[in-house]
């Protein structure tokens, strides 16, 4: 059977124009040939009769046996960590409730990535926009890092080079600038993207390019003693922005150097706010390809604070240093791990020697290596659900397009909660 308008949860853009063919338990993407997207859907397929069973210490078990084993591990735990959190809204709702019940800590697999934008929002606030606004309003786009186009495969086609646009010729045929450092390996796919002006700049890092541009925006040209090629490009870019109607800066925090990414995102915001004194300028931070936005939105409204959230004292507390999930594992501060991941069989938990419960994708590679594995259906394939898009504004429906016997992750988590 064929399904139209299917939402793809495998990158933060949540494209919802997919056609997917479902035959028994096999799933095939029909109208989008990007290898990343195709592969993600293939990962959901299996043959009849291959529906995996729950495993306790690698041996097949009934769902009830697996739930009992998981409950026992959590009862024995003094400091449980609930992580992964790669799921739909309902899965995240139930996972937060479970964490509260066991007095644990909840974080996302990519918690450190979430923190970068959160901390800038906490400290200074941001100026942001959404996908349709960029598509229709922006006449000038500045992309920081070629990786953005690789990791958000359809950004170029759907948003940056629309067939039609609400504005005028300038918003339809946008000026698109891609900034990156010179020594980065040539990315072949950029070549096919004819609308892009690709500046490979002499600079030690993408971060330093951002800082340089801030200087150009903030300071009069006279103060630079020597204007080299890189500086000239940035000066010209600044002029272009000042002459444009609506400029959008696009970045993905993951492209920046991890130890200074927060500072770089702050620089982005400073640039935008500075430019806003004269012209319209906005930011579009991209992320959420492992459902980070969904998890963080749910945690924020249910607990009042962003991830990570700790419930040891009864009330939710946010502390990104003390409760960083990955660091807790490294420092052996958690004694039991519940790893929830529903979209991708490769999203294994980090290596750890503490008891580990994995709830999620039926084909998880790690299934045999953990204490308890409970396979679940995939939101958007086996179950209905909802997911939040990269811009933190749009929420899209995930359909149920396949009939399998797999329980939903949220059902499994709430059953587990009831045993505690």
């Amino acid at each position: 059977m064929q399904f139209n308008d299917v939402t793809c949860p495998h990158c933060g853009l949540l494209c919802d124009d997919l056609t997917v063919e479902v035959n028994d338990l096999s799933v095939q993407l029909k109208n989008n040939n990007h290898p990343l997207c195709k592969q993600a859907f293939e990962d959901a397929s299996f043959n009849s009769g291959q529906i995996p069973s729950p495993l306790v210490n690698g041996s097949p078990a009934t769902l009830q046996q697996a739930l009992d084993a998981a409950a026992q591990l959590l009862k024995n735990s003094k400091q449980p960590l609930i992580s992964g959190m790669i799921g739909d809204i309902q899965t995240c709702r139930d996972a937060v409730a479970l964490t509260e019940k066991v007095g644990g800590v909840v974080d996302h697999a990519n918690g450190s990535g979430i923190r970068i934008n959160t901390s800038v929002m906490q400290r200074m606030g941001e100026v942001r926009t959404t996908l349709a606004e960029v598509r229709n309003r922006a006449d000038c786009v500045v992309i920081f890092g070629a990786g953005v186009l690789e990791n958000f495969p359809r950004l170029y086609e759907r948003i940056l080079t629309p067939a039609q646009s609400l504005g005028n010729d300038a918003t339809k045929n946008k000026k698109i600038f891609l900034l990156d450092r010179l020594d980065k390996n040539e990315i072949p796919s950029i070549k096919n993207k004819g609308a892009i002006t690709y500046f490979q700049l002499e600079a030690p890092s993408l971060d330093s390019i951002a800082h340089k541009l801030l200087e150009v925006i903030n300071k009069p040209i006279e103060i630079f003693d020597e204007i080299d090629d890189t500086l000239q490009i940035l000066i010209d870019l600044h002029q272009t922005i000042l002459n444009s109607q609506y400029t959008t800066f696009i970045w993905a925090a993951g492209e920046f150097k991890s130890d200074i990414a927060e500072h770089t995102v702050q620089t982005m915001t400073q640039m935008i706010k500075q430019l806003m004194e004269k012209v319209r300028c906005v930011g579009l931070p991209l992320g959420g390809s492992r459902a980070e936005v969904t998890a963080n939105q749910v945690a924020t409204w249910q607990t009042g604070v962003s991830l990570p959230v700790a419930f040891m004292s009864g009330a939710p507390i946010h502390n990104p240093i003390l409760f960083d999930g990955m660091k807790m594992l490294q420092n052996k501060e958690a004694d039991t791990l519940v790893w929830i991941t529903t979209y991708n069989s490769n999203d294994n938990p980090p290596e750890t020697d503490i008891p580990t419960i994995v709830i999620g994708h039926p084909k998880m590679k790690c299934a045999n290596d953990v204490d308890v594995f409970i396979p679940t259906g995939i939101p958007g394939i086996d179950h209905r659900g909802l997911a939040c898009r990269t811009d933190n504004v749009a929420t899209l429906p995930l359909k149920s397009i396949r009939t399998s016997q797999l329980a939903s992750a949220n059902d499994v988590i709430s059953q587990l909660s009831q045993l505690l």
Partner: protein, 552 residues
């Protein structure tokens, strides 16, 4: 289940009952004035000396949607400073200014509120707004969908579309977003801000080619034609600008006599007189309301202290960002529909402007004669968190308390305000109007906000106290749909409220141009945009109740 409440003094303005001692029965989830025949009474409560009102209704409070999460993120210190460690069957939470969803529900119930309405649901963000409200227990909910800055409507108006076509679009959007009313924020202004325009007057042509007045006229007509009970909910132009009372008066006339609700009108009642070029125009605004029976308003009273402002009005929020306290601010343009701006703010009684804002709100309350047309809000959290309502009620009911507070604010503000000379004190009956009967009436909730036969058994009982603030802070009992859920100001049982919606009839042929608009310009498929009622129940968590519309 039959519950008898005997000996209470009822305040039920919908039935003109002003403090009469009357027994009341709860039969299952409904109110009955008489004991049901052939049924035994399961519980009986003697509530002599107690005050009985319907559950309160907050018709303008920002409790759901992306801007609230942005506000929560920006107010981390306040979240941590107010931990809410509930246990057992209750969920934990935190925050005073923008509490987490569970805490919001518990605290509203603990003040005797049984229904709250989120006034700024962006269409593309409607799912999230409803999810947050679904995770807000205890109270009924509803949302007003934002229109009037969306490119689809502005293009329709600019291209001269018929009123019928506009009506169909409005009705379609209400259905697609599961809302109960239509809100317009700074008509055309949020859109104009995307073109770097920083101010827009009511009769000025915006970059969309239409005037705010035209948008208001067309939308108030649509709401009227479709028979939507709640009048067009208007956040007027020029919020916070000295002299804006003139554009507020223009906004009133733009409705051309049709019903219109002006929200947080305190922020729109400023003059330019005096040394500071900032003065109260409460008198002009109250007089205009008194003279135009088609107008209702809520006040958006400010209270002194820290809060955060969250609004769809990017244009005026950007203008206000210089006053951010602490110094941080967020602005978002959103999906060719609208936007949002989130800015922390500290209202200080020693600041001339803030002190006068406080006085202006109270002046409006006191000078609007008809309590059915001036509703009690702080525009939570913009003027103050909703938990300040009992304090606000005391300011309205107790003149000497009001004058005590007045005597401590900025001296020049005291001097130029007429507040000290105003004698009016609100009665309990009038408070019951503005917090129960009137909001139910202007929302079209026929079985809410009153204590008549057949009404939903949403009942709040207060023990009579000399300190009115104390009394309204801690009702001794709250019943939600007939269940006792709050005792002595504490939640004792968790219940899930319903989502109130309207679904006016419309001609489905509007879907053809809409589908084309989505295909050509939007980033969500037309078929995925609409929230179905079963999605509300199954995925979002909000069961709906549809209220009737009468096509005009």
């Amino acid at each position: 289940m039959v519950i008898k409440l005997s000996g209470g003094k009822l305040y039920d303005p919908a039935h003109k009952i002003d403090g009469q001692v009357t027994d009341l029965y709860i039969v299952d989830d409904k109110i009955s004035k008489t004991a049901p025949a052939n049924k035994k009474i399961d519980h009986s409560y003697a509530i002599d000396d107690c005050i009985v009102m319907a559950g309160a209704i907050d018709m303008h409070t920002h409790i759901g949607g992306g801007k609230v999460n942005i506000a929560r993120t920006m107010m981390l210190e306040d979240q941590h400073a107010h931990p809410d460690a509930r246990s057992g069957k209750f969920r934990s939470g935190n925050g005073h200014i923008v509490p987490s969803t569970f805490s919001t529900g518990y605290r509203y119930a603990e003040m005797g509120y049984t229904a709250c309405f989120e006034p700024a649901v962006l269409p593309v963000n409607a799912r999230q707004a409803h999810m947050e409200m679904a995770d807000t227990p205890m109270i009924d909910k509803g949302g007003y969908v934002l229109l009037g800055n969306d490119d689809f409507l502005l293009r329709m108006i600019q291209q001269g579309a018929s009123q019928t076509a506009v009506n169909d679009y409005v009705a379609w959007l209400l259905d697609a977003t599961q809302c109960i009313g239509v809100k317009v924020v700074n008509p055309g202004g949020i859109h104009a801000f995307k073109y770097n325009q920083r101010r827009l007057d009511v009769d000025e042509i915006s970059p969309s080619g239409v005037t705010p007045r035209k948008i208001l006229t067309v939308l108030s007509k649509a709401v009227h034609d479709l028979g939507i009970p709640h009048p067009l909910h208007v956040h007027a132009s020029n919020l916070g600008i000295p002299g804006n009372f003139e554009s507020t008066l223009s906004t009133m006339t733009a409705a051309e006599g049709l019903p219109i609700h002006l929200t947080h009108i305190q922020f729109h009642s400023y003059g330019t007189e005096g040394d500071h070029k900032f003065s109260s125009a409460a008198c002009q605004i109250a007089e205009a309301i008194n003279n135009q029976p088609n107008i209702t308003a809520d006040v958006g009273q400010i209270m002194f202290g820290q809060t955060i402002t969250a609004s769809g009005d990017t244009m005026m929020q950007y203008f206000g960002h210089e006053h951010a306290n602490p110094k941080k601010w967020t602005i978002m343009d959103i999906e060719c529909e609208a936007g949002c701006g989130v800015i922390p703010f500290k209202y200080r009684d020693k600041s001339f402007v803030n002190a006068l804002q406080w006085a202006i709100g109270l002046e409006i309350f006191i000078q609007v004669n008809d309590p059915w047309r001036v509703l009690l809000t702080t525009d939570h959290p913009n003027g103050a968190p909703f938990t300040s309502y009992p304090h606000l009620i005391k300011l309205l009911m107790n003149r000497s308390f009001r004058n005590d507070v007045l005597s401590a604010i900025h001296p020049e503000a005291q001097q130029i305000s007429n507040l000290a000379s105003m004698e009016r004190e609100y009665s309990l009956y009038e408070i019951a109007i503005m917090t129960r009967a009137a909001p139910a009436k202007i929302l079209g909730l026929t079985d809410h906000g009153h204590l008549g036969d057949g009404a939903k058994a949403n009942i709040t009982i207060y023990r009579k106290q000399d300190d009115i603030e104390q009394m309204f802070t801690k009702p001794i009992m709250v019943f939600k749909n007939g269940e006792l859920v709050v005792e002595n100001g504490k939640v004792t049982k968790t219940v899930q409220g319903i989502t109130h919606v309207v679904k006016p009839e419309f001609d489905r042929s509007i879907e053809k141009p809409l589908k084309k608009y989505f295909d050509d310009y939007q980033t969500i498929a037309f078929n995925n945009f609409r929230i179905s009622s079963d999605e509300m129940a199954e995925c979002i968590g909000g069961e709906i109740q549809i209220h009737p519309c009468k096509l005009n």
